[in-house]
């Protein structure tokens, strides 16, 4: 069966004063119907840009989708003009987006209800009253109390957590086949984070939407995602079933990442080890392994070339010259 979405060799650049930023540099991945895929990586590695490019929401200029294919249900979305009917039908209708900033992602001058109904009326062609009914329903589903009253509230009358619930409700309201959640809870406090993530996962599992979740929370991925993609400097450096990647990570960066972030599902007291060095500047990258300057295993690596993504196991591939996967590598440097 063909995947729901197949991204092939996606490249996005930004023309900045300092030079051409290769924010996304040849990213390929797939997601099946109803699948949950996690996307992790340091700040600035191109996670958001790669996801925005799927629905051509990258600001152009300064951004530019240089090349690649985004095949969604058999059609290459990048062949369509960003403002074409096809593209607009996909946005919101087929692919729902949840953004990081709940505080600013709703328009302050319209009520929450109006903003949710706008999507429903556009994609499902609902009447005003039917859209209102459905909007109240989805708000109830994400756990907004008194949804029939709260629907008339403006965003500033909602707390951050409630806004993000409403955002989830809005993104899911038209039953999109794919939901892209870009760090949906990063801006919330920890307790709210857990609740909101929980709601989102329940909704997605209930409606069988496919979900790409960009997050720093590896626990969430371990618990919910079937697969994980690890990005570094505009590229995917490791991709595989999440259990496999957690147990046998094949890229030193993945290992370092796992050591550097807390996992909610883990025993307490583990020491967090920050990744040393700074993320590379995405302008004028030399043609060597981009992680080399920071790699803790650099001494073991003899190769000078830029590694390709290569398979190391079933559906598991790694962009590294070394063969560290498959030896319970998750415990390396513990």
């Amino acid at each position: 069966m063909a995947p729901l979405l197949e991204v092939k060799d996606l490249r996005v650049t930004f023309d900045t004063m300092n030079g051409l930023v290769k924010a996304v540099d040849g990213v390929s991945f797939t997601i099946d119907k109803g699948e949950i895929v996690g996307l992790v990586g340091e700040s600035g590695c191109g996670k958001s840009v790669s996801q925005m490019a799927i629905t051509q929401l990258v600001a152009t200029p300064p951004g530019k989708i240089v090349s690649g294919e985004v095949i969604f249900e058999g059609r290459d979305l990048l062949k369509y003009h960003p403002e074409s009917n096809m593209m607009r039908d996909v946005r919101g209708g087929q692919i729902g987006m949840i953004f990081q900033e709940p505080m600013t992602s709703f328009n302050p001058v319209f009520t929450i209800g109006e903003q949710i109904m706008e999507s429903l009326r556009l994609h499902l062609k609902l009447s005003r009253s039917a859209a209102r009914k459905r909007a109240i329903e989805v708000l109830e589903e994400v756990g907004i109390p008194d949804a029939s009253v709260r629907i008339n509230n403006y965003p500033h009358q909602f707390s951050g957590g409630m806004r993000q619930r409403a955002m989830i409700a809005m993104a899911l309201s038209c039953s999109p086949k794919l939901v892209i959640a870009d760090e949906p809870t990063t801006a919330l406090d920890v307790t709210t984070q857990a609740q909101v993530l929980d709601i989102m996962m329940k909704m997605v599992e209930h409606y069988h939407n496919a979900l790409i979740i960009v997050t720093h929370n590896l626990g969430i991925i371990a618990r919910h995602a079937q697969r994980i993609n690890v990005m570094y400097a505009g590229r995917i450096v490791e991709s595989g079933p999440s259990e496999e990647v957690f147990l046998n990570p094949g890229h030193p960066y993945t290992i370092a990442l796992m050591k550097s972030v807390p996992r909610l599902d883990e025993k307490r007291g583990r020491q967090l080890i920050p990744i040393s060095g700074i993320p590379p500047n995405l302008i004028n990258m030399p043609p060597i392994c981009s992680f080399k300057p920071r790699c803790p295993m650099v001494d073991a690596c003899q190769s000078l070339s830029d590694p390709e993504l290569r398979p190391v196991g079933k559906n598991h591939s790694v962009r590294c010259h070394l063969n560290i996967s498959g030896q319970n590598s998750g415990t390396i440097f513990e």
């Binding site: 629905t55 929401l57 403002e83 593209m87 607009r88 039908d89 996909v90 946005r91 919101g92 209708g93 729902g96 987006m97 953004f99 900033e101 600013t104 992602s105 709703f106 328009n107 302050p108 001058v109 319209f110 009520t111 903003q115 706008e118 999507s119 556009l122 994609h123 403006y154 500033h156 009358q157 955002m167 809005m170």
Partner: protein, 314 residues
């Protein structure tokens, strides 16, 4: 909303009060004696003293003010020295003319300014943007009186397309009235259009970058809906504030244009009265205009609340 209106109204009355006090003081501080103006330079000291007493000018200044405001509350604005007419009825005659001109300028310049600013922002970097930005940047620097004089010279005297000066009531001869209106409205509007267009442009450009605009796009809305429903409404919030502020500016230009184009409005009356120290007219005019400006600012505040729910629900 109601308590907001009440609060604002009380505030407005207070402000108008202060403004009349300041203008009363200013008129008494600037040199030149109205009595000498009336009687001429050859009047005897006794005559002057006599008239000062009749006009109440020998009283302490605070007392004069109280006397004036007391009469105003009873509908009596006093008598003009130069026109020998009731200040109230002088104002009443001229106020509609000024109101007519200022409203047209205000509405026209706001609409044109907003449209220009939006086009400029949406077509950023294009030819239209360059032209509008050029106009906006120069328009702010061109004073109304200069535009008025140059306009009269070119279109009135040289080309003969427009009447050189004067005013006709739109209820009398609408066509003539409009023709006479073009020059003064143009002259007072240009700086305003420029200010509004600039603000609209920058505020629209800023709004387009906002996260909620991206959200609106991600929902699949048409570009048009994203721009004119989601972005514009937010972009207008600072523009509305600005329009309230430019009103005072517009009225200043209006005074001068009325004098240049010989339009019988409050502006010309006040300029003339100020020159002759006909202080009761100036006082009355300041009171009426001050009230008008405050009322319009009140309208602006209410509009502000209508556009931005964060204000309304405070």
């Amino acid at each position: 909303m109601l308590s907001f209106l009440l609060r604002r109204t009380i505030h407005t009355i207070f402000v108008v009060f202060i403004v009349t006090i300041i203008s009363f003081l200013l008129l008494h501080i600037i040199p030149g004696d109205p009595v000498v103006r009336i009687l001429g330079a050859h009047a005897t000291a006794a005559q002057i003293e006599q008239l000062r007493h009749e006009l109440g000018l020998d009283q302490p200044i605070l007392w004069q003010y109280i006397h004036w405001i007391w009469n105003v509350f009873h509908g009596d604005f006093g008598k003009s020295f130069i026109y020998h007419e009731d200040v109230g009825s002088l104002m009443l005659e001229r106020f509609p003319v000024t109101l007519y001109l200022v409203s047209i300028s205000l509405i026209l310049s706001t609409i044109i300014g907003i449209i220009g600013g939006v086009i400029s922002a949406v077509k950023r970097g294009g030819v239209a943007d360059s032209l509008i930005s050029l106009f906006a940047n120069t328009g702010i620097a061109i004073p109304s009186f200069w535009l008025g004089i140059v306009g009269i010279y070119i279109f009135g005297l040289k080309l003969g397309w427009l009447p050189v000066q004067g005013y006709t009531s739109p209820f009398g001869d609408l066509w003539m009235s409009l023709k006479q209106l073009i020059m003064p409205v143009f002259a007072t509007s240009v700086p305003n259009v420029a200010i509004v267009a600039r603000q609209t442009r920058s505020s629209m450009l800023e709004t387009i970058q906002q996260d909620y605009v991206r959200t609106a796009k991600s929902k699949g809305l048409k570009q048009r809906v994203v721009l004119y429903k989601h972005a514009l409404r937010n972009a207008l919030i600072p523009v509305v504030t600005l329009v309230g502020l430019t009103l005072a500016f517009l009225i200043g230009g209006e005074f001068i244009i009325e004098t240049i184009c010989n339009i019988p409005g409050v502006g010309r009356l006040l300029v003339r009265a100020a020159m002759n120290k006909d202080y009761l007219i100036v006082q009355g005019g300041v009171l009426i205009l001050g009230t008008a400006i405050c009322i319009i600012n009140l309208v602006v505040d209410v509009t502000y609340g209508l556009i931005d729910p964060r204000i309304r629900y405070k």
